[in-house]
Amino acid sequence: MSGLATIRAAASYTPTFRIDAAAFEQAWGSFDAPGIESKAVPDADEDALTMATEAGRCALTAASIDGEAIVWLGWATTTPPIEAEALTPRLKSMLAIDNQTPSVSVTDSTRAGTQLLREAPADRTALVLVSDCPQGAPDDELGHAGGAGATAFVLAPDGHAPITEANSYESPKPGVRFRQPDETYDHGLDIGQYERSAFIDAIASASESITTADADAVAVQAPNGKRPYRVADTLGVDPARIKRVGTVHELGDTGAASVPLGLTRALAEDCSTIIGASFGGGVGADVLRIECTGAVPVIEATSTEGQLSYAAYLRRREAITTPTIDTGAAHVSVPTWQRSIPQRHRLIAGECPNCDALAFPPSGACPQCRTLVDYEPIDCWTSGTVETVTTINRGGAPPEFAAQQDQQGAFEVAIIALSIDGRSVSLPAQLTASAGVGARVKPVIRHIYTQEGVPRYGVKFQPASVQ
């Protein structure tokens, strides 16, 4: 064996909102990201962590395994929602992966996803999550190009898509793509030929020892919709093979997820020989070759909820909103929040040992028999039904949610009934999109709010109509 991992299943997730190039042209007089027709925009409560979780859950479903089967976790992104704090412990919690499972995250360039695929263990069941939502300044090409997306791969020796060859190349060429500490926006120096040659040379060098010309599909790093085709000659492939699995035209620049999303699309299309060629600032490149021996189960969770205006896009990307003011009362401390993590991340309710009724959260006297009991944990991560719902309009939200409301406007808060074995338990939660009383909804992980600089994540519910 090559020591490289084998893909057993894959999934992708992209946010439901899109913005067209035309909206930028109307706002700026031009759209500066060539080859991009539209791009995906994360909702106000989505980020690289929530997108990774959604893709991860879908990949586990595609592989027909639970999180507990995962013995190695990797996460790649260039846009972690917080820095200098490991987020893989939260990912493991959200995906029901054992706390002690080894994990790594790579965040330093748009090569991060392919680096993880190269380095993942070949002999164990592993999960690689790649998610990104890069942003540039609103008035530059990176800002116009920045999209969003996530993909996940379950790796296992019994999979049908082995990575048969992989190679990397690195060379010190600063200034192609970077971000200052404590900044939101990626930058480039916009030195055209320097950047283009850095891109082409790195991929050419990384691909030297790998056969690429016979590939059915070639996923190439796409900072815009033109750049990937510049290596078609270098790789000896028809540009149509690149376009076949390119997501940049529809989703924009998905950063670290760019090449992995293309690989997932190629697997979904049952391509047999697949090449991935990534590039990242610094600079470096990875080239992977996958030779499928059979079909790989893939779930692509991509639905389009709606088109955003340019103003709505700026609000969602926090370009024209101000942070929440913390005025202190009714504060839920981080330790208090932490104690509810099994409920926030996995909807663990309690089962009364006395009368079998369900309780959420699982503490205090049983809601049915009123006995003070110690509950048995019970997994309630399942679709539910809206019992009642309200739309919280501007000004009607608690201040913790003022920033979210600034970004996305009115939001819906419902009481959801979850039914397990004929028993029902209810909890209050936001909906990710509009739904009426009686509607079916499924749980998803979203950013709930940030306080004292600590982003907090938990369950919201997504109407079946947008799944």
Partner: protein, 395 residues
């Protein structure tokens, strides 16, 4: 059980008063209460005080009771703060009645005070949310408007209640409040105004929500041993009922009624020995207009689900068979949280003593107050009876 009597009650104006402090507003309410006692009441006779306040803004969260009573010169008396969210004032009245009925005190001041309009919009929203279930309900993104909106949506879904019926409650209460000089929003509103207001939390719009308010209100509760010193026409606290429930709506058995109100009402009726049909008028907790319709149903004024029809028929208007919120209610009079429950008692006192001015009802005997904390985590109901016979003939 010894009886307790209401011999005086008074309030400050409810509204927004940048030049007033919580102490100055309380002083106004206290002085008006003392002045309302028919035969006068020497403050030195006050044995005890119970003060309802949530403490919005946090200005004097600890010892907020003594902070006002010492300011009034009620030096040295036992004073306790009661906090039961928006029902704090009603529970202060209940505590005062208990002190009298237990024999520990003969004259008790039950007061309430709140200042809500001197903090930023973000800050007041923080404070408005402190009485909801914090960890799950609030952090699903709701304040009380949202939780009551969820109750309204469920009620509409189950009983076909309409937003127009909610608006009719607002129109009625504004009509009453327009005749109350203490009311914060003392103006009439049309059904069209109420129907077309901006949405706060659907299906509730601005006219379906009470304002935030500054204000104070006080009631004087005395024992049967001393009542004759203060009045020749005693008002007996005939019934007291109170109950609690899960703080979060999602933890309750029903979203279309408030079980704590039902229990408190049933207990108060039982103690008073009357049926709901005997009630001549009521001050109910209409923090959001769906809450008034729920109160009709929970207090037995109509069958479950018929609240909307009851307002449609005009039964709770001032000239109806059971006038509700003749003061203007929380919607028009205002809702200074800790003062609301005692403020309801002020209206009952005025109506039962013939001092309600332009909104005076014709010779009522039984007046009911209904005060709810949060979305139903606490509720308290009092039934007051004007005794028309002499004190010696008391039941």
């Amino acid at each position: 059980m010894p009886e307790a009597y209401l011999v005086g009650a008074g309030q400050s104006d409810f509204g927004s008063f940048p030049d007033e402090s919580y102490r100055s507003l309380f002083r106004t309410a206290y002085e008006n209460a003392i002045d309302s006692v028919p035969n006068g009441l020497d403050p030195d006779l006050i044995d005890e005080a119970v003060i309802g306040t949530l403490g919005v803004g946090g200005r004097q969260l600890g010892l907020s009771g003594p902070a006002v009573t010492e300011h009034l010169g009620l030096h040295g008396i036992p004073c306790t703060r009661v906090e039961n969210a928006c029902a704090a004032g009603g529970y202060a009245v209940r505590q005062a009645a208990m002190a009298v009925k237990s024999g520990l005190a003969d004259v008790v001041l039950a007061g309430g005070v709140e200042i809500m309009t001197d903090v930023s919009g973000d800050s007041v929203r923080f404070w408005l949310g402190v009485s909801g279930e914090t960890e799950w309900e609030r952090l699903s993104g709701t304040t009380f408007a949202g939780v009551y909106a969820q109750m309204a949506r469920a009620h509409m879904d189950q009983y076909d209640t309409t937003t127009e019926q909610l608006s009719r409650v607002a129109v009625k209460n504004h009509s009453n409040g327009a005749d109350n000089p203490h009311a914060q929003l003392g103006f009439e509103c049309s059904l069209e105004d109420a129907e077309n207001a901006p949405t706060v939390a659907s299906p509730l719009n601005l006219y379906h929500c009470c304002p935030t308010s500054d204000g104070a209100a006080c009631a004087l509760i005395v024992s049967e041993d001393v009542v004759e010193q203060f009045t020749d026409e005693p008002i007996r606290i005939a019934g007291v009922g109170a109950a609690s429930d899960s703080v979060g709506l999602f933890q309750r058995e029903t979203y279309t009624s408030i079980p704590a109100s039902q229990q408190a009402g049933a207990d108060a009726y039982a103690m008073a020995g009357i049926e709901p049909t005997a009630v001549d008028f009521a001050e109910v907790h209409d923090c959001f207009e769906i809450a008034e319709l729920l109160a009709y149903e929970d207090l037995g004024f109509c069958e479950p689900g018929d609240g909307g029809a009851m307002i449609d028929r005009g039964e709770t208007a001032r000239d109806g068979t059971l006038p509700v919120n003749t003061s203007g209610g929380l919607k028009s009079k205002g809702h200074p949280i800790g003062a609301t429950g005692t403020g309801q008692v002020v209206e009952v006192f005025k109506q039962l003593t013939g001092a309600a001015g332009d909104r005076q009802l014709e010779s009522p005997t039984y007046g009911l107050t209904h005060n709810v904390g949060g979305s139903g985590g606490a509720a308290v109901v009092h039934i007051f009876e004007r005794e028309r016979s002499t004190a010696g003939d008391r039941r």
